[in-house]
Symmetry: C2
Subunit: 296 residues, 2 copies
């Protein structure tokens, strides 16, 4: 492979931005303010970690990139909706996201509520109206997978556990349970959906799922470390906020050194899981590096 990871990621990120621009409702279509706010909340934002995982998994099985685009967009829209709602005053009350005013600050709370609602709907609309598989039943399985990962026993459930945990002393297994749902479920879904756009065996999916579990957890541990260490300018969001709110994090529970070493262990386990896949799993391995080794 001639292109290095940075080049590969940058090419996908820039290409995927255009994909999202085309899939989101156009800003001049009624209701304009809602559609403009949906685009504000999704476009020019983030590193697109979940889509990159979907693209890496899709390339590994030789999936049609047009199909992976749709799966990746659906996952990213679910992620974006959760950020918009999570930032609202009744949740985390954040005013900055990726260095820009959050959606309810830029627009208003009612619009932000509808933006999140509509982004979620759009995710399921895309998965049902575009062809992702030659087999309709397989495509239904993919929709079910994303729904299960996003709902009350997935991502939203993790946010509910998070709400209940504020001010409480969580054990390490409880904290892990929260993050497996809150962040992990959607990361795993991104990888599995990317792979399911091509041909993949149940055994391969199980291995990918374990990789996703390790990477998802590592992602959160690293987030906690970064949140603790970084200042607002570097991160583009209010730093140290979780600790201020008395929210349990890996850093408050383990200390920053042990949290870093936990992230490294999870990274090693993720890479080990892919060992038998050989060179074709290069991008997945590089993504694990990217997620765990960023700005330590």
């Amino acid at each position: 492979m001639a292109v290095n990871f940075a080049g590969w990621a940058a090419a996908h990120q820039s290409r995927f931005e255009e994909v999202l621009r085309g899939l989101l409702p156009q800003p001049e279509v009624s209701p304009q303010r809602l559609h403009q706010a949906m685009r504000y909340a999704v476009l020019e934002g983030g590193k697109r970690v979940r889509p990159l995982l979907a693209f890496a998994a899709g390339e590994w099985v030789g999936a049609d990139v047009e199909r992976v685009n749709i799966a990746a967009a659906a996952v990213e829209l679910i992620h974006a909706y959760s950020l918009v709602h999570d930032d609202m005053p009744c949740m985390d009350d954040d005013v900055l996201r990726r260095g820009k005013p959050t959606c309810h600050v830029q627009y208003d709370e009612a619009t932000a509520l509808l933006v999140g609602d509509s982004l979620q709907t759009l995710a399921f609309q895309l998965l049902s109206e575009r062809q992702l598989s030659d087999d309709g039943l397989q495509q239904l399985e993919m929709i079910k997978l994303l729904a299960a990962a996003s709902g009350s026993r997935g991502m939203a459930g993790g946010q509910a556990i998070d709400l209940e945990s504020v001010g409480r002393a969580l054990s390490l297994p409880e904290l892990e349970n929260m993050h497996i749902h809150k962040t992990g479920a959607l990361i795993r879904a991104a990888i599995l959906l990317g792979a399911q756009c091509g041909t993949v065996s149940a055994a391969q999916l199980a291995r990918l799922d374990h990789f996703g579990k390790c990477v998802g957890l590592a992602f959160q541990v690293v987030d906690d470390v970064l949140d603790f260490a970084a200042d607002t300018a570097t991160l583009g969001k209010t730093a140290g906020k979780d600790a201020d709110n008395d929210k349990p994090t890996y850093v408050t529970l383990l200390g920053v050194q042990a949290a870093r070493s936990m992230a490294h262990d999870l990274h090693a386990e993720a890479v080990e899981t892919l060992a038998e896949f050989g060179d074709k799993a290069l991008r997945l391995r590089e993504l694990a590096d990217f997620i765990v080794l960023r700005k330590f």
Copy 2:
């Protein structure tokens, strides 16, 4: 048909309540508070107009009732999620719904936000994990139909138009456009999904869709009349609230007499649409009566 409409509706309402109890996450499953709040927001609530429309359409085409149960539940979960979010302080700020404290009052705002989010996800999960059609591609069409009816160019879009219209003088076509999206889209989806659980031609679907459009609009006109006329005790929600908020309604725009006569005209058009369907459309016709003639 031996059973009269009231008996037919009561039997379906009571049976459907059990269906919903079984489909919603059980209250003892983690995260318990979220699951309990989801059940609070959905169970023992409302007349289940949309499910009844789905059942009537399903019976008309001889669809398997187990399949219509799932389609009806998905539509009702979308409706319930929209009510939970609509009642929140940043939207309509309602404290009573169906005579009970609204979800954010009974629980808290953050939980209500997650309840709405999770109910929406559950709707799409049900439509993808249960069998609704012998044909996977047809089932994907059904998911797409519900998503389109619920999203930014359907129900949520209607709510956005509603937000933008507060304090503005809307024309009658603008008001109609708002309601066709806000209430009408989901009512039409309920009827079409019920019918699509069985075998139905494109021409029949088009006719059902026109019936749904008339009934959906009539439903909103009647709501405006009731909201204007009723007192809080009868309605179980704060009466006259729309007028207080300077929201345009059919009553403020047309006057109460013209609004009533508009509802009657829409009812006549709905019934006329079904004329050639004969006796098999009895329940649909009775539902049109029920929706338009309630408590005038």
